[in-house]
């Protein structure tokens, strides 16, 4: 066996979605539509010998070419049977399978009850079909409204011709065209055949609705898959069923980068239910297929049992030796040394010499894992040189090229069906699981296999949010105004540190940022609100420290820093929108009217085009002795109760109020869960916390009340909500803890400083 070199694995910088990136680079040919009537459909989705076909089952009796279907674009199909809207992007829990079709439906002017929504096939005609960077909403806003309005325009035109009246005299509502003066009306369904004959108008001739006329956008709409979810119907990637399906597992080296020396394959192959076992040397790309041993069996349980009995001798010469405890020690020295100076404005040294009122804080954050509740999985079939995949992925189009490479075929031979994801959080931006399934299927041709990662696989081979360390110094002048800021930080390689456009750039005259990279072998990548999810905590906690050093109210200092209304840093954050959020959140939370025994903390953060302020109301218990933390330190043990979090968010107009509110509430819960007790540590290259017994997320009893206020001035386009409500939570809670008891938390998770949630 040839040996691939994995010595540079830690140098691979995973592709991270940037906020300005909207176009995927990989496309595939349009998927043929499968024509099914309801009986056939039920048979295919049924219990015996069926498969989960939702990804390419359009409205029944849709016939694309015979003139009975009105389909002016790939998003809308109307025929005598009904109205079908295609949801283009992956659904990962962010609600786009409901909210994006709502944009279509609003401009199409259909009654929501008349609409059936299906997941679109993978087709470049849909534009960038991915879920990441909170981009689905902003990138869909123009095209989907255009698609809906275009279709409406053509339906009106068809009615005008039918009735021999001017289109200007017609109106639409609830899937009907109406002619008020003659009291006539006709349904879109009845118009489908005629509308199909109308030429598609140019974009310039299409008018959008005045938002005041919206009937659907901004309302509370229950998710389109909710009925299927509460019935337990096949829906997610893991639910994929196919005739003669076999079940696969894949064991990689626990210290990432290790290669297979030998394995007890003969023994494993003799186990009950095991069909095949073999070694994959990997593709040489750590984001695709790492070396390991695959097992194919008759059931998931048989495959899991075989994986447990598998004994592999690993060559760990080039494998990870990552050690978090050593890194923690090393970092204390790194932040004492000058790093790569990425920002240096004004005269920082002079500012610190001239102003005696200063604060200093050493912040650190551990690694965390995405841990979506559906462990990574992918179903694949390799047959006659072609590969078909059924995958829960955030980036279906990006995964097809790598999957093709893993199977050793051209990408044109790959067909991908996108399925609902049981959570994403950034993990499913990366398609290593899809590549593994492709490579395993190649080794077992003609039979569909479902690759199933265990929870331990899912956490151990995650692409983590990296840890980091910040030494912050700041100074304030006689009036308590922040005049100097120095952030020296060390973060894991692959992360470039705080960008030059981040807070408080442009708000503090004398600002210096220095960065040092720390080498790391385990893969790190985008995790919900990348960068912002940790920088928000560090920066917005330290700002509170400076407000306190200056003897001033935190909200006042925050508003002073935001200053006059302006757009910062080549677009992006608007200080006026930011200030409005800070004012509303603090007002609603009773900032100037605090309850006895409660602490209040505020934080604002701008990320993913969302302006969001949060205020946490907490109480902290008395010290209950000491407890030993993960770093072996003895720290004082205290309880923390987060009673309420008040959120003010300006993300432009709200598409689905129910979904939007749910995203904010969920982000607050995720933010609290992550800041309190989530940490991944590494020793000898191995992840130490690999399941939920040691990676303990927040439960219902600890969930605070979350009050959400949306600001919409009517001047802006909508932006996504999967991420921006996450970053302000941790600093708001940290600041509230200080307000409650005078103790400053500077470590994520705060259980490292003795806090536990009640």
């Amino acid at each position: 066996m040839t040996t691939l070199d994995y010595s540079d694995i830690g140098k691979v910088i995973p592709r991270v979605l940037r906020e300005d990136e909207t176009t995927p680079t990989v496309f595939t040919e349009p998927q043929p539509l499968v024509k099914l009537d309801r009986r056939q459909f039920l048979k295919l989705t049924g219990l015996i010998g069926g498969g989960l076909m939702l990804s390419f089952a359009p409205l029944r009796k849709v016939r694309a070419q015979d003139g009975t279907v009105f389909s002016p674009n790939v998003f809308v199909k109307i025929d005598a049977e009904g109205i079908l809207l295609y949801a283009p992007n992956p659904e990962i829990g962010q609600g786009v399978k409901t909210s994006l079709p709502m944009m279509l439906a609003e401009e199409l002017d259909v009654a929501w009850e008349d609409v059936r929504v299906v997941q679109a096939p993978i087709d470049r005609a849909y534009g960038g079909q991915f879920a990441g960077g909170s981009m689905s909403t902003p990138t869909s806003w123009e095209p989907l409204r255009t698609a809906g309005a275009t279709a409406r325009h053509m339906l009106v035109e068809a009615a005008a011709q039918k009735w021999q009246v001017s289109a200007d005299t017609l109106s639409t509502q609830d899937s009907m065209v109406k002619h008020a003066s003659s009291n006539r009306e006709i349904s879109y369904r009845e118009l489908a055949v005629d509308a199909a004959k109308i030429a598609v108008p140019s974009r310039g001739s299409i008018k959008f609705k005045d938002p005041k006329q919206y009937r659907l956008l901004g309302k509370r709409i229950t998710g389109v898959d909710n009925d299927a979810i509460v019935r337990g119907k096949p829906l997610f990637g893991i639910d994929q069923m196919l005739p003669n399906l076999k079940y696969a597992v894949y064991q990689k080296c626990p210290a990432i980068g290790g290669t297979v020396k030998s394995a007890n394959l003969d023994e494993v192959k003799k186990m009950p239910g095991v069909r095949q076992a073999g070694v994959l040397e990997g593709t040489g790309n750590a984001m695709e297929v790492l070396p390991g041993v695959f097992i194919i069996a008759d059931s998931t349980w048989a495959a899991f049992q075989a994986k447990r009995a598998l004994k592999v001798e690993w060559d760990e010469n080039n494998a990870s030796k990552d050690s978090w405890s050593e890194t923690v020690t090393q970092a204390t020295k790194l932040v004492e040394q000058a790093g790569n100076r990425t920002v240096d404005t004004g005269d920082v040294d002079a500012a610190f010499s001239a102003n005696e009122r200063q604060a200093e804080g050493y912040y650190k954050y551990f690694f965390v894992s995405h841990a979506p509740l559906e462990p990574q999985n992918c179903t694949a079939m390799f047959k006659d040189g072609e590969l078909e995949l059924w995958a829960p992925t955030q980036t279906p189009t990006w995964g097809m090229g790598p999957a093709a490479r893993a199977a050793g075929i051209d990408q044109s031979k790959v067909k991908l069906n996108q399925l609902r994801c049981g959570g994403g959080f950034g993990r499913r931006l990366y398609n290593d699981f899809m590549c593994e399934a492709a490579a395993i299927a190649k080794n077992y041709p003609g039979v569909p296999i479902k690759l199933q990662w265990t929870r331990e696989d899912d956490i151990s081979y995650d692409l983590f949010r990296g840890g980091g360390f910040h030494k912050l110094r700041g100074c304030v002048d006689e009036q308590g105004k922040v005049v100097g800021w120095h952030n020296r930080h060390a973060t894991i390689t692959g992360d470039q540190g705080i960008g030059s456009g981040q807070f408080p750039m442009g708000m503090v005259d004398n600002l210096r940022v220095e960065h040092t990279g720390i080498d790391w072998k385990h893969r790190c990548a985008a995790w919900r609100a990348p960068g912002s999810n940790v920088f928000g905590f560090v920066l917005m906690s330290f700002l509170h420290e400076l407000a306190y050093a200056g003897g001033r109210d935190h909200r006042d200092v925050l508003l002073e820093m935001l200053g006059e209304e302006r757009l910062m840093n080549r677009g992006g954050m608007h200080t006026g929108r930011a200030a409005a959020c800070v004012k509303l959140a603090t007002e609603k939370a009773g900032w100037t009217n605090r309850k006895e025994g409660r602490g209040l903390g505020v934080a604002f953060y701008y990320s993913h085009a969302g302006h969001i302020a949060e205020v946490a109301e907490v109480s902290v218990g008395d010290v209950e002795g000491t407890v030993t933390n993960r770093q072996g330190e003895s720290v004082q043990k205290r309880s923390l109760k987060v009673h309420k979090v008040t959120v003010a968010a300006d993300v432009g107009p709200i598409i689905n109020l129910s979904g939007a509110e749910n995203q904010v509430q969920g982000s607050v819960v995720d933010g609290l869960s992550t800041m309190v007790d989530l940490a991944i540590t590494f020793e000898n290259g191995r992840v130490q916390e690999t399941n939920f017994d040691k990676y303990r997320m927040l439960r219902m009893a600890e969930t605070p009340e979350v009050e959400v206020h949306f600001i919409n001035t009517g001047e802006h386009s909508p932006t996504g909500l999967g991420e921006p409500a996450f970053p302000p939570l941790a600093p708001a809670v940290g600041n509230a803890i200080f307000d409650a008891c005078g103790y400053r938390v500077r470590t994520l998770p705060i259980s490292e400083e003795g806090f536990y949630l009640v």
Binding site: T222, D225, V230, A302, L373
Partner: protein, 153 residues
């Protein structure tokens, strides 16, 4: 070996008796509404009822079911039936984000409401303490439980 699931008796001849109920449901009976999350009884995505008790099917060997009745999410309302008030509450409150944990949350609630038709917040928190929601929909789960309790009473 036989097992009764959603009022249908299935012959499990040839299946390893140590196989957890979860995988029998998913791989052998094609009842995939019950989800795999952790495999060690920590997340509750695999929650089903055995008689009236909520159990984590990922660690419950099929051989231990015996002549008891298993109810899964698919057993609440069949495809052709209207949703039960419990399921309808989940739709009306729009609980789900990704939706992956919700079958487990619903089955844990079914067990709770069978035993305690009018649960307090604390009762709900305790009954659902074993059910993780990675998306953080707990506030809506709690609300839906209350709506369902009201509808059933």
């Amino acid at each position: 070996m036989k097992v009764s699931v959603n009022n249908t008796t299935h012959d499990l001849t040839g299946i390893d008796p140590s196989t957890p109920l979860l995988w029998v449901l998913r791989d052998h009976l094609n009842l995939v509404g019950t989800k795999f999350g952790c495999g060690i009884s920590q997340c509750g995505a695999c929650t089903v009822l055995i008689d009236d008790t909520a159990v984590k099917s990922c660690i419950y060997p099929i051989s231990a079911v015996g002549d008891k009745d298993v109810t899964t999410i698919e057993g609440l309302a069949s495809d052709e039936e209207e949703l039960t008030p419990l399921q309808q509450a989940w739709v009306d409150v729009d609980v789900a984000q990704c939706g992956y944990c919700q079958a487990g949350q619903i089955m844990a609630t079914e067990a709770l409401l069978r035993e305690n038709p009018n649960p307090t917040d604390t009762d709900i928190d305790t009954a659902l303490a074993g059910n993780l929601c990675r998306c953080g929909t707990y506030l809506r789960v709690r609300e839906a439980v209350k709506v369902a309790a009201k509808q059933r009473s």
